[in-house]
């Protein structure tokens, strides 16, 4: 290599290193900034959040908030790493009160009761959500979005085959059998790319087949996951898999993801799909005609449960870092997100995102909101048939077991009984250690 080239290389090396050094303005966090990590469903949602909440807050606040955007699939792990290393942001995200409770028990987040008093959260937030967010009787996180699980279907496809949304197990099986005969996948499902999708299905099935009453008992330690109702529910899912009704069979289960299911509904190759109400937005985007998709409450999957059960879920829970130097500002930002129903509904209208668990009356909904969203959020408060979403109400390790071991149920490597055995063991450990949350009492139990 000749001299010129070598000199050039040396210069290049020095330049690159210099660039790296000088250009690393990085994001050094100054303590006067209030930091918040957010993750969004899509860039439009992020933009709406930025405008409505971040810019809106910064317009009036003394300490401005700086939002750093992460991805939904990595924000949990990033937050965990950051918290463990003492580098967490001021406002800490968790995907539900369950995960947030881990932080609280370890002393990484502060109790929020004084702020709850100051901002009146106890009165504004729905009681079940408020109670759920407590650890050791102190408020540890604030829920900022709540939703449920429903059954999605394609109106034209249903009309074409003469089906109506099922409300009982036998109706469900009739539609499923008819769909299978017509060459459709009767029930969408699968966990490709994100193993946690299994728990969407399990939440729906457990609530619709076992029922909220029994779930309450099991979550408070008065019943066991190995009881026959649970075995029956898991066996039901297994029967769907064996018949090829769920995702088209056990192998397809592992290679079908959420988008594929929604696309299947839109294309008319999948008949029904049980998923969360966060998917309203995706449905409208994927369907060519956004009016063509519809949701129905979950059918009852056994005689023990009334049709139309709504498992309640909290999608995001925010807490305040113990080491934060801006705790007051953090609390006021959180209040900005949940305290004002109109602002929250404006966000929902624009993005289809689930609103916070506030007491909202039908007339508060803005005109531009999708009718289906209004139906959902008026139906839930009016009904007493509400249940428990697993990622919200199950303690963390039990939930992790629920998801990770379910794969083996799908492949048939493990029996329903053995699976539930393990689930009960995992739950027992957390129950004995006192790391379970407070589920609301089902109606008719007071």
């Amino acid at each position: 290599m000749n001299r010129t080239t070598r000199i050039l290389a040396a210069v290049g090396a020095v330049a690159a290193t210099a660039l790296a050094l000088t250009a690393c303005t990085g994001g050094g966090r100054s303590s006067s900034d209030l930091t918040y990590w957010g993750a969004f469903y899509s860039p439009d949602t992020e933009k709406a959040f930025q405008e409505i909440f971040v810019d809106g807050y910064n317009g009036a606040a003394q300490t401005p908030v700086k939002m750093e955007v992460k991805e939904l699939t990595t924000i949990g792990k990033l937050t965990d790493t950051a918290v463990a290393a003492g580098q967490a942001p001021d406002v800490i995200y968790a995907d539900g009160p369950s995960s947030a409770s881990d932080f609280a028990r370890a002393g990484r987040t502060i109790a929020l009761d004084e702020y709850a008093q100051k901002y009146d959260w106890q009165d504004k937030l729905l009681p079940w959500a408020y109670e759920l967010s407590k650890v050791d009787d102190k408020l540890s996180s604030v829920p900022t979005g709540y939703g449920s699980m429903v059954l999605y279907y394609n109106k034209s496809v249903f009309a074409e085959h003469g089906w109506t949304a099922p409300t009982t197990l036998s109706e469900f099986e009739t539609v499923a059998a008819s769909a299978a005969a017509a060459g459709l996948v009767p029930l969408g499902g699968g966990n490709a790319g994100y193993q946690g999708m299994s728990e969407w299905l399990l939440t729906a099935v457990l609530n619709a087949a076992v029922g909220p009453d029994k779930l309450y008992d099991v979550l408070t330690g008065d019943a066991s996951f190995t009881d026959p109702e649970f075995v029956g529910a898991i066996d039901l899912v297994k029967s769907w898999i064996d018949q090829g009704w769920l995702a088209g069979g056990s192998e397809s289960y592992f290679t079908t993801d959420d988008t594929a299911n929604i696309t299947g509904l839109a294309n008319g190759t999948t008949a029904m799909y049980m998923s969360g109400t966060w998917a309203f937005n995706s449905m409208s985007q994927v369907f060519e005609d956004p009016e063509d998709w519809a949701w129905a409450p979950l059918p009852s999957l056994s005689d023990a449960v009334q049709p139309g059960v709504y498992p309640l879920a909290i999608g995001t829970a925010l807490s305040i870092n113990t080491e934060s130097k801006n705790a007051d500002a953090a609390a006021s930002f959180i209040d900005y997100l949940v305290g004002d129903a109109d602002r929250a509904l404006e966000y929902t209208a624009r993005t289809g995102e689930n609103p916070p668990p506030l007491a909202i009356t039908a007339d508060q909904f803005p005109a531009e909101i999708d009718k289906r969203t209004v139906e959902l959020y008026t139906a839930i408060p009016e009904t007493t048939n509400v249940g428990y979403a697993t990622w919200t109400f199950f303690p963390p390790k039990t939930d992790a077991y629920l998801i990770s071991e379910f794969d083996k149920v799908v492949t048939g490597d493990v029996t329903s009984a053995a699976y539930l055995e393990g689930l009960q063991q995992a739950f027992q450990k957390e129950h004995d250690a006192g790391s379970t949350l407070t589920p609301f009492t089902p109606a008719g139990r007071e």
């Binding site: 990085g26 990595t74 790319g193 959420d258």
Partner: protein, 286 residues
């Protein structure tokens, strides 16, 4: 994949053309290597819905706007610049660190040679996932957390062991006469290193630098943990910006991936000449 070589042919003249079977095998390997890239290119032009129903065929409509969308949504302009800075700084740093260390291990009197190899290999066999927490804490203490140079230093540490051992394997087969002579001639060690050794193993150093730069360019886990600021993020994180909730928009991922890959291929093509020049004119012809 197995290859069966034909039996030895009768003696030929010195300059012979490659056999047909050589071309055949090379051709097959090319199809294997390049074929999927057509799937890649055509997927970048499909709409997200179309990928689900038509995974590997040609696109129905050629959605060139995917590239524009991907560019904007993932802020690829800034991201590519960041990637370039990080990759080049890593490559240069690793080349220097590794070649110096490899030289010390083979030619200079470094004690316990086997021990160094053991240490290098074992330290490159520690799974990175576990480092994240102690390293983040450590890096924040040093003020290197969320700084580009912080990530670069981590890359130097992570990619140097392999590079060192690679360059070492090249050095080991070099005869010692040249340096001995130069040393006797009174050359200083540094001068000896840069003027005599480096040119001799230049292809090896270039390969090691290229590999390190490439690994840094594509690396994800450390980048996502140690760079929080969106403006400092490299392109490898950008492809993760196309998540629609819990699933990915594969058409945009393909488009972004193509945008990411093209600069590297171009750089590689340009460097090809250097490789060949290094062999052709120099080497160890006695």
């Amino acid at each position: 994949m197995s290859t069966a070589m034909p039996a030895v042919a009768p003696a030929r003249r010195t300059r012979r053309r490659p056999r047909l079977i050589t071309w055949l095998i090379v051709g097959l390997l090319s199809v294997y290597a390049v074929g999927p890239l057509f799937v890649f290119a055509s997927n970048s032009l499909k709409s997200s819905r179309e990928i689900a129903s038509n995974p590997i065929g040609l696109p129905q409509n050629w959605n060139w706007e995917n590239f524009v969308t991907a560019w904007e949504q993932a802020r690829m302009g800034g991201a590519l610049l960041n990637s370039a800075i990080i990759a080049v700084a890593t490559a240069v740093g690793v080349a220097l660190i590794a070649s110096m260390a490899a030289y010390a291990m083979t030619r200079l009197d470094l004690p316990a040679k086997g021990g160094w190899i053991l240490w290098l290999l074992v330290s490159s066999s520690l799974p990175l996932q576990l480092f994240l927490v102690p390293l983040v804490a450590w890096w924040s203490f040093l003020g290197l957390y969320n700084e580009r140079i912080g990530l670069i230093i981590i890359y130097w540490a992570v990619f140097s062991p392999f590079a060192t051992l690679l360059i070492r394997s090249f050095l080991v087969s070099l005869p010692v006469e040249f340096e001995e002579a130069a040393r006797l001639d009174g050359a200083g060690e540094l001068r000896l290193f840069f003027r005599v050794i480096v040119p001799m193993i230049w292809p090896g150093i270039l390969t090691a630098a290229l590999v390190a730069g490439l690994q840094a360019y594509n690396e994800f886990m450390l980048a996502v943990t140690f760079l929080q600021d969106r403006d400092a993020m490299p392109a490898s994180l950008s492809v993760y910006a196309f998540q629609q909730g819990f699933t990915t928009d594969w058409s945009l991922v393909s488009a972004a991936g193509l945008i990411m890959a093209i600069p590297v291929v171009i750089v590689f093509l340009l460097l090809q000449r250097k490789f060949i020049e290094g062999y052709a004119s120099g080497g160890l012809a006695n």
